[in-house]
């Protein structure tokens, strides 16, 4: 689906990462493989270390820590927030919405909109799309987009397919209207017929968590996980990304009449280094224009990876200058989406620890 937005802009991004850093070597003993084979996995996928929340830490804790930081630094005022969008797959509760919980904890005004969106790897792009649509309302002047997940709490520590790459984190993105004549080009596609490629089978209403769903089972590759854990069909996801994402980006750029080399950076979701290198090669984009170092430094925090990628790799630049960026997220749903926009001279573009 083609999308177009006028007179909207991002004015600040803050990434909040747990302080706890876990190295790949510390967890190798959990996997049902030899040390040599685990190290081979590390080399192939670019694993190194990831950020993991302490027990009991929830999405609202990370988000409130970041919001409080912005309030204290004078970079955001409570009364200016007209909408709070939280994109997460790991809410504090099934009900109420975690965005309402955050609104209450932060003492925000009642005359505003709070909404939770259940979305994963494409959650930053989808959240921005929702923010842009809300800003069409004259009464909505400033939207705070929260992307946060603590999926390490749902991954089996004995699953080498998922555990080494998962990271926890949150991001806060401020989206506003602008008088500048700006155009944001967007595209999004979904395919629910392949929804089981990335899922947590038990714990919802379809299959509630029980002692049976918590039992660990060994898969054909020697990984142990239960139905309560996240399961990822890695080969299928890899193939989906390689088939669907390059033509989507090509079509987006063509529609916007922007040549590939006029894009300063391709800030994509961060599944793993290998997948991103193959995407860059297929798109004939220099690999340095598509940073791929988030999994090795922080882990894959689902919808928060694109803002983490932005604040870590080009945050300082974006506080000083404007750049042409192409953002793309792809994964859970299945969903794949992209935005082409100018971003820069941000009020803030930083990373802090929780």
């Amino acid at each position: 689906m083609d999308l177009l937005f006028k007179n909207k802009k991002i004015t600040g991004i803050l990434t909040v990462l747990p302080s706890r850093e876990v190295h790949f070597e510390e967890e190798m003993g959990n996997y049902n493989f030899s040390t040599a084979k685990s190290l081979k996995l590390k080399m192939a996928m670019g694993y190194n270390k990831h950020r993991i929340v302490d027990e009991g830490v929830c999405v609202s804790d990370l988000c409130c820590h970041g919001l409080e930081h912005l309030f204290q630094q004078g970079k955001l005022k409570r009364e200016d927030i007209d909408a709070l969008i939280l994109v997460t797959q790991s809410p504090d509760y099934f009900m109420p919405p975690t965005s309402n919980v955050i609104q209450g904890k932060m003492g925000l005004k009642q005359d505003m909109i709070c909404m939770d969106i259940n979305q994963g790897c494409a959650g930053f792009v989808l959240g921005l799309i929702q923010a842009f649509m809300l800003l069409e309302q004259p009464t909505v002047r400033k939207v705070v987009l929260l992307n946060a997940d603590v999926l390490s709490r749902k991954v089996s520590k004995r699953d080498r397919n998922s555990n080494p790459l998962i990271g926890d984190g949150a991001s806060i993105t401020i989206v506003e209207r602008t008088e500048e004549n700006s155009t944001i080009w967007g595209t999004i596609k979904m395919d629910g017929s392949r929804a089981d490629a990335l899922m947590i089978p038990a714990g919802g209403f379809r299959q509630p968590s029980t002692s049976e769903t918590a039992e660990m089972h060994e898969d054909i590759n020697g990984n142990f996980r239960s139905l309560d854990n996240l399961v990822m069909k890695g080969d299928e996801v890899f193939n989906f990304v390689q088939v669907e994402v390059p033509p989507m980006i090509d079509e987006l750029l063509e529609r916007a009449s922007v040549e590939k080399n006029r894009v300063d950076y391709y800030m994509f979701h961060q599944p793993n280094r290998f997948m991103l290198q193959k995407l860059a090669d297929k798109l004939e984009i220099p690999r340095e224009k598509m940073p791929n170092n988030i999994v090795e430094n922080f882990g894959n925090s689902s919808g928060a990876t694109i803002p983490t990628n932005i604040t870590f790799n080009i945050g300082e630049k974006l506080e000083k200058q404007e750049m042409q960026l192409c953002l793309s997220g792809f994964g859970v749903g299945l969903t794949w989406a992209a935005l082409l926009l100018r971003m820069g001279k941000l009020d803030f573009c930083q990373t802090i620890n929780f």
């Binding site: 088939v243 290998f274 995407l279």
Partner: protein, 76 residues
């Protein structure tokens, strides 16, 4: 090209004989992570980038299939 491919495979999994006419995937000689390491090595040694859509197990199940894949990706 064949000798070079077998040398890469031997380096990757020295415990197996890749001259044997067997299916490397079905026989468990290469798993999905071996395939990724193999792609990286083939890319590097042949100066190409194997298309991501071709990174499928069946394309690495024999030396002949690997040769076909390399030829498809521009190796002569």
């Amino acid at each position: 090209m064949k000798e070079k491919i077998i040398a890469i495979l031997n380096e990757l999994r020295p415990e197996f004989d890749f001259n044997e006419p067997v299916n490397f995937i079905e026989e468990g000689m290469l798993d999905s992570f071996d395939v990724i390491n193999l792609v990286n090595e083939l890319d590097s040694q042949f100066g190409i980038s194997i298309d991501g859509v071709d990174v499928l197990p069946e394309n690495f199940s024999s030396v002949d299939n690997i040769i076909s894949l390399l030829q498809k990706n521009g190796v002569k």
